[in-house]
Amino acid sequence: MAVQKDKAAIREMIARRAEQEIESGYYVNLGIGMPTMVANYIHPEKEVVLQSENGLLGIGRSPYEHEVDPDLINAGKETVTASVGAAYCDSSESFAMIRGEHLDLAILGGMEVAENGDLANWMIPGKMIKGMGGAMDIVHGSKKVVIIMDHVNKHGDPKILKECKLPLTGKGVVDRIITDRAVMDVTDEGLKLVEIAEGWTVDEIKTQTEAELIISDELLKMPSSK
């Protein structure tokens, strides 16, 4: 078993690995929660435009206290700044950008992902439903959809399944899954293990993944957090 890292270190490791999905020149939508953290690790030499579905193309850094503008927030309702060269738009235009497949990449959180790329990340039956927000639109719009999440749930049960048990956010929409233990691609042949984190064996990952895994011939080591 791998050494148990603390939660913050695991989140940072996943966020840093997710950053590697971003290429210079990309337009990217980052979901609420852990995906938002990815912005902190974007390499300064990459030119990236972050889209916020509430109508901002070009999210900047967090404001200093004296810069806070109550009219300027991200989709997580946090106060932000706009980057140099940013553009504002209304919500229908913002989702036209998304639905029209103008975004290169979306990085979102997940509760369950199935081997065919089905994603569930918005509701748990029996619990109060808060709403899907923009997730159902975003999963169909981006050229590439990457899900970042823990490999197993807090009970240690797999979150990467043959079929999602929870109601779906989107059908066959996921391209890549990045977890604290592995990176997997949804391919026509099935779910392919392409990277594995230090301290885990392929057999361990197989046990922790309900979906059938194809092991890549060029299996890589996942970069560790530091």
């Binding site: 309702k77 919500s91 639905r99 808060k130």
Partner: protein, 231 residues
């Protein structure tokens, strides 16, 4: 020239029980704060409210909710409001959750005279139940219908006496589409100016969509105050 109201009470006086109203804003940003407060005071009941969110417990649409004025809510995310949860579980409030981009487009379509459109969002999910699915170029889409309202309450940065509106930053959000989709649209503006003062090329909502305006001062509450430390 448009109706310029002298009080928020007067601005909402035609909104009666059982009206369908659209209310602009994303979270608490860009909401018509004073028009909502006036609606609470008017005590109209059995409203159907179309808005992306439903405010928080003590501000925005949360105030209408607390006062039990809403029968049905159409939105995309309502997770910031405990009273909302209580009323839904108690069967006092009907809720129709719609993906955010679909909601925006339903409102845009409604205001643009388009009765329905196909969108991929929601295919294969609970949202698709009872909806027509059609395949175009090998991809599945859901049929979604446009939305209109008896009244739209929007918030703009500046507006002129012709009803032309300009919004500020991310306070634009759902406001422009709602302005077009309301049979009667009332705009709460931070500053009311004379025609000609707004750059014609920079107007976000042309005045044809707006029936009445009122100037007001907003609190602009912040839901998630996020700052970096000064160096």
């Amino acid at each position: 020239m448009k109706q310029i109201y002298s009080s928020f009470h007067e601005a909402v006086k035609d909104i009666k029980d059982h009206s369908t109203i659209m209310v602009g804003g994303f979270g608490l940003v860009g909401i018509p704060e004073n028009l909502i407060l006036a609606l609470v005071e008017s005590n109209v009941k059995h409203l159907t409210v179309i808005s992306n969110n439903c405010g928080v417990d003590d501000w925005g649409l949360g105030l209408l909710l607390k006062n039990k004025q809403i029968d049905k809510m159409i939105g995309s995310y309502v997770g910031e409001n405990k009273e909302f949860e209580r009323q839904v579980l108690a069967g006092e409030l009907e809720v129709e959750l719609t993906p955010q981009g679909t909601l925006a487009e339903k409102i845009r379509a409604g205001g643009a005279g388009i009765p329905a459109f196909y969108t991929p969002a929601g295919v294969g999910t609970p949202i698709a139940e009872g909806k027509e699915v059609r395949t175009f170029n090998g991809k599945e889409y859901l049929l979604q219908e446009g939305l209109t309202a008896d009244f739209s309450l929007v918030r703009a940065f500046r507006g002129d006496r012709h009803g032309n509106l300009v919004y500020n930053k991310t306070a634009r959000n759902f406001n422009p589409m709602m302005a077009a989709a309301g049979a009667v649209t009332i705009a709460e503006v931070e500053e009311l100016v004379e025609p000609g003062e707004l750059e014609a090329d920079a107007i976000h909502t042309p005045g044809i969509y707006v029936q009445g305006l009122i100037e007001g001062q907003q609190e602009k509450r912040i839901e998630r105050y996020t700052v970096r430390k000064e160096a």
